[in-house]
Symmetry: C2
DNA sequence: TTGAAAGCGCTAACAA
DNA sequence: TTGTTAGCGCTTTCAA
């Protein structure tokens, strides 16, 4: 741990803005204003504004001069003033979960990139609990800071969130939790993915598939349960009782210890890669082989699990596509409020078959009895 | 994938602010201003401001009335106006890496929490490349948006970044890359951690330790190399050539394949958990046992790797402590610019010994020859 | 194509 | 303890 403090030059102002507010005018090394640029370029402030905002009706000559003057002065547009005058903030806020899992983290990274590519700045507020009160508070603080749009990313609980929102809202991976001027919902394919994972196991010959679910309060959990259920129902497979984890490998491990003695279990679809890893570990510790005795499928697609034994079969969530498409719609809602939303393309469902799945130890015969 | 668009009520304004800017006065359902609160509470706007900013010299009575009026109106302070008038933005910007690794993601989560706990909002800009140009652009955009302080989190390359920065800057996990009004540096203990990991292996009886490093351009890589080197030098151990990865499990796997045939290698310290996992996998595929033939230590402390075979011995980076302490110093620099920085406490070095390390297959005898 | 004037909603300084 | 006045730096309107 190193703490280094560069010598603090006492006559450096804490902030140019502060100094100016105190009374300094644009003299000496003070932070340049648009008036300074205008003066240097020999035009009006409004023309400077026009150039910097790419507005039409500016002569090439004026544009060139303004750009040169701005560059020379090291002029930086004051976003607060612009926001106050125009009502547009140029930023989008995201309410995220604040967990460090591969899934949520990579979703956030893609959101940041998509937002930036769309020309907006990003404000982030985490709500580790994801409950309605937390989300309401987070949205409230975002609105207060000033945002043109809000993204609510994978919130946890259902329940009505009570906030007054005048800007468009994008719900990523969950149904709308509150009303807003305009609401856009973008799923992350959890249902289809869960269904594909379950079907993969069924296709291998397993008579049914157990499901290790996440905490019941999460939307992500519900979606996966439903997908699993749909796959089972479509094949007429019996639906075994749910197994419960909390996304952590430790919880998967605990479930695996309890499950190991139940010889009727031959296939488990876990709602997260990490739970799957914990589950497999416990199973093997108890002497059950994976995939020979029990097949396990994960959920997320973290590439590192291609390098464990056995390499984990899993499904990949299309975070990048979901973030990109969702934000495209959100930005459309922000910038063209009175037009219809464009069509969103469906991201692909991607099943990654590796080594943790195989046919059941001994396929059931026609009567459904198992011949071990 | 579900796209849902709630019916768009045509007479809902796209934004209250916009409407007001167009000419509406505080009438009907327009967004309330501080003047509206003042009127309802029967005080002046300045008193409203005082109450909302927790300034002294307000009577209990006035405070109560203002709060009630604000609540009734659903008043929300306009941060842009406040910023313009006061010069303070109430937000801190972070320049992050935008990779989805466990390390960087969890650092970002802790940064968000610490920033919020300190009463600031967070702006995030990612620079996937982390190079000086990218960092400069990111800082520039943050400054333009308006921030009271900047955090540069684990940048990649050395090199001078050319930006004019009037606010304090916190460098997390790297030395200062540019000059600012005030610079604070907070390491994440990488050197000490790398040293502890290497020493653990040496203590086990290995004559030397190989190091699987990350991309050479990263500061994080350099720090770990230096820690490893220091441990080797302190014991008079021979320093083998560096192995090179890119943080991914795949790169660790590739190195492992090449390394498997070299029987002289008995201990490897990998600069990241995921590379360690890939390395171990390749080693075992080639018939070498871990830890019996080769010991491997990772770096990061992702708990999921306690549930693979063998459970990974690793060191945990004190992200939470580093973020909390670093931001404490940054906030101090922002709020009390003319005082000394407080003392920062050193986060603990934490070695997590699990199953991937053991004494060498057959300890060298006194002469240094190996008796296999 | 350009400019002058008038705010945006808030806080700072000062006076009361 | 409170209110008045005067901006913060920009965009908007409207006229030129």
């Amino acid at each position: 741990m190193v703490i280094q403090l560069t010598s603090f030059d006492a006559d450096v102002r804490p902030s140019g803005d502060f100094m100016a507010a105190v009374g300094g005018r644009s003299e000496g090394s003070a932070v340049p204003r648009s008036a300074d640029v205008a003066r240097l370029a020999g035009v009006s402030r409004k023309t400077v504004s026009r150039v910097l905002n790419n507005e039409p009706y500016v002569s090439e000559e004026a544009r060139t001069k303004v750009l040169a003057a701005a560059e020379e002065l090291g002029y930086r547009l004051n976003q607060a003033a612009r926001t106050l005058a125009s009502g547009r903030t140029g930023s989008i806020g995201v309410v995220a979960l604040g967990t460090v899992g591969y899934g949520t983290a990579s979703l956030l990274v893609h959101v940041e990139r998509a937002v930036r590519d769309a020309g907006y700045a990003l404000r982030v507020v985490n709500t580790p609990d994801g409950d309605p009160a937390g989300i309401a508070g987070a949205v409230e603080s975002l609105l207060e800071q000033g945002v043109d749009g809000v993204i609510v990313s994978e919130p946890i609980v259902e329940g009505d969130v009570s906030v007054r929102v005048d800007v468009p809202v994008l719900f990523l991976g969950a149904p709308p939790a509150f009303n807003a001027t305009r609401t856009v919902t973008m799923g992350v394919g959890a249902h289809e993915l869960a269904r594909a994972a379950t079907e993969h196991l069924l296709d291998l010959g397993h008579t049914t598939v157990h499901h290790l679910a996440g905490p019941r309060r999460w939307y992500a959990t519900k979606d996966r349960i439903e997908g699993w259920r749909a796959a089972l129902a479509a094949r007429g497979a019996h639906e075994p009782p749910l197994l419960n984890g909390d996304w952590s490998a430790a919880s998967g491990h605990a479930v695996g210890e309890a499950l190991a003695s139940d010889r009727s279990v031959t296939a488990v679809f876990a709602a997260g890669d990490e739970m799957a890893i914990g589950l497999i570990h416990a199973l093997r510790e108890a002497g059950r082989r994976v995939p020979e005795d029990i097949s396990v499928v994960g959920f997320d697609g973290n590439p590192v699990f291609a390098y464990v034994s056995p390499p984990l079969t899993t499904v990949r969530q299309p975070f990048e596509a979901a973030a990109r498409e969702g934000i495209r719609l959100l930005v459309h809602a922000i910038e063209k409020p009175h037009t219809d939303l464009p069509q969103a393309s469906d991201p692909p469902v991607e099943l990654i078959v590796r080594g943790s799945t195989a046919p059941p130890p001994s396929p059931p015969d026609k009567t459904g009895r198992r011949t071990t």
